[in-house]
């Protein structure tokens, strides 16, 4: 799927960040994830969802396959972002109230707390189910730059899973945000695409239960969304 935005759904500083990342070909291996793709879906599909937090997350696919690229910390520092590393080694870039983070897919239940992407010189946070977001992603054209975001179907399935896995003191608030995004996305997902993704992505019994639980909690019909385990 390709989306052409007649006008940018982002504020100028976010436009600037995405434009610069596109210039260094980041989106050949990366996706804009988190709540920001919702800004594009909201504009393109006229969805009733307009809540975005100031953390801007990017997912990176197949870290080992990235052979060349410019160091991202330098690019981000030029844009006014300050790198801050936490005790686990994950790097965050801060500018005012904006927080940029990089995320990679984590296989299995445990692993290193941070993964370095050598050509880009960033320490990304490994999280499970990030590979799901890379199935049939959407290309987006905004003014003078391009980016990639997850397909609404992949994003919805991802949120249905992680809503049940949130940790920390504000897990309930995050869960509610995830499920609210699912409710909004359920209006635009294509049943055929959902089925296609489920055919190509193996889900454990536990994960299937999590998806079922999320759908039940927000009153979504799994049948109508194309979610079935047969």
């Amino acid at each position: 799927m390709k989306i052409i935005c007649p006008q940018s759904p982002f504020m100028e500083s976010v436009d600037e960040l995405l434009r610069e990342l596109d210039r260094v070909d980041f989106f050949a291996h990366g996706l804009l994830i988190g709540s920001w793709p919702m800004a594009i879906y909201t504009q393109h599909f006229e969805l009733a969802y307009g809540l975005m937090t100031n953390d801007i997350d990017f997912a990176i696919e197949n870290v080992l396959k990235i052979k060349e690229g410019k160091p991202l910390p330098e690019l981000l520092e030029r844009l006014g972002y300050t790198p801050v590393q936490d005790y686990s080694g994950i790097e965050t870039f801060l500018q005012g109230t904006f927080e940029v983070e990089f995320i990679v897919h984590r296989r299995g239940g445990s692993g290193p707390s941070a993964v370095t992407v050598p050509p880009w010189k960033v320490a990304a946070q490994p999280l499970p189910f990030v590979d799901l977001l890379f199935i049939r992603p959407v290309s987006v054209v905004v003014d003078d730059f391009n980016l990639r975001i997850p397909a609404p179907e992949a994003l919805m399935l991802h949120k249905l899973i992680i809503a049940q896995r949130r940790l920390g003191s504000d897990k309930e608030a995050k869960k509610e945000k995830d499920l609210q995004q699912c409710t909004a996305l359920a209006e635009i997902v294509r049943v055929g695409e959902v089925k296609q993704i489920l055919l190509s992505y193996r889900l454990s019994k536990k994960v299937r239960t999590e998806i079922t639980d999320s759908c039940t909690e927000i009153g979504l019909s799994m049948h109508q969304l194309g979610i079935s385990w047969s």
């Binding site: 500018q95 109230t97 003191s169 608030a173």
Partner: protein, 111 residues
């Protein structure tokens, strides 16, 4: 607005954003504490009819302003570190302002 007409997800979203900002504030404070404080300046010292100009680091300790003499090399080296601290202090201020704004929207009884 009556309670039953409120969309609670909006409030929860704000709470989540407030928590995120609070984590950022904590991280920024930790980083700022590691960096030297103050600003670079110059001190003029008159001696034997000559005036010598030395770079110095000015910073406040309680009520007292301290001037720390630096070599030219050390002054050059500390310049980007002080700029980083200043930038982080500005980010810290922005995040605290955002938390205060969210608190004002949520009201005092929504912790």
């Amino acid at each position: 607005m009556r309670a039953e007409k409120k969309d609670m997800s909006v409030f929860n979203m704000l709470k989540s954003e407030r928590n995120r900002c609070a984590v950022v504030v904590k991280r920024l404070n930790l980083e700022i504490d590691k960096l030297p404080k103050g600003s670079l300046g110059e001190r003029k010292v008159k001696s034997h009819d000559k005036v010598y100009v030395y770079p110095c680091l000015r910073y406040r300790e309680g009520k007292k302003v301290t001037f720390e003499h630096l070599s030219q090399e050390k002054a050059e080296a500390i310049k980007p570190v002080l700029a980083r601290r200043k930038k982080m202090e500005s980010d810290l201020k922005a995040n605290k302002k955002r938390i205060a704004t969210i608190n004002a929207i949520l009201g005092k009884d929504s912790n």
